[in-house]
Symmetry: C2
């Protein structure tokens, strides 16, 4: 008799107690390491509460066998452009180091695209640091077009 | 005796009756012309109402001598990254054709940066179509860094 090891993968809204695990993923990255702090810093919880209270904002986690292994934030942006089309913006996509290379990122972004389409969004948009060349191939393969320059201005 | 022609320039929240003028500016553009419709289409008004009802979203117009001559949308994005920093995202920046080349765009973006700083935002971000090379020089000159690829996926 064969054994079947079926791993459960769930995408769900993040809860307050997920915040330290999410912050740890944000920090576990060549760009994130320099800019994140203590995962228990109360400023992270305050930001979580603001996202959680906003009906146009969703902080999502991927949970596998009870463990948070991925995260992304979806924001639904209203705008007049394109006949008042709503857009879904994806930010802060991370997969836990222990889980990379297993296709989880693809499942996450595909899930986000499906969710945006079901909601009636006309577009999904995101930006990716120019140093993340692996991520660029990944987004290209999912049908995204790198049609825009992404500008940032850090306020001192 | 000299005559002084002092033109009044005001930045303010857009009102519902500004929507046709804003849409006309969105459409008066080599990219916008193909994707906008009748400025009186009710879908534009529905999108305006959604922006207007969202405390994290501001549709701004520049008004000179009672005439709307510029527009931009500011969205204040919560996020866990960077110790829970808030970001200001600028979208849909347009200056009326009759007013281009007079520095209004610079006044608008400078005003947006000041507004984001006063609110405590850690970053201002925007994307600009890669074909808008003039806009890129403009954002570079304002201190923005084109550090990111801007990806879009149009949903069919």
């Amino acid at each position: 008799m064969e054994s079947h090891y079926v791993l459960s993968l769930v995408f769900r809204q993040a809860r307050r107690q997920d915040v330290p695990a999410i912050v740890a993923m944000l920090a576990d990255d060549h760009l994130g390491a320099a800019r994140e702090g203590d995962p228990n810093d109360e400023r992270y919880l305050a930001a979580f509460d603001r996202i959680d209270a906003n009906p146009h904002d969703e902080l999502i986690v991927a949970e596998r066998d009870g463990k948070v292994v991925g995260t992304m934030q979806l924001t639904y942006l209203a705008g007049l452009s394109r006949l008042g089309a709503e857009r879904c913006q994806i930010e802060a996509v991370r997969v836990a180091a222990s889980t990379r290379g297993q296709g989880l990122g693809r499942e996450m972004i595909t899930w986000a695209i499906d969710r945006a389409r079901a909601r009636g969004c006309a577009m999904v948009q995101l930006t990716s640091d120019k140093s993340r060349t692996g991520a660029h191939r990944f987004y290209d393969s999912l049908g995204f077009t790198a049609s825009h320059e992404g500008y940032k201005l850090i306020l001192g």
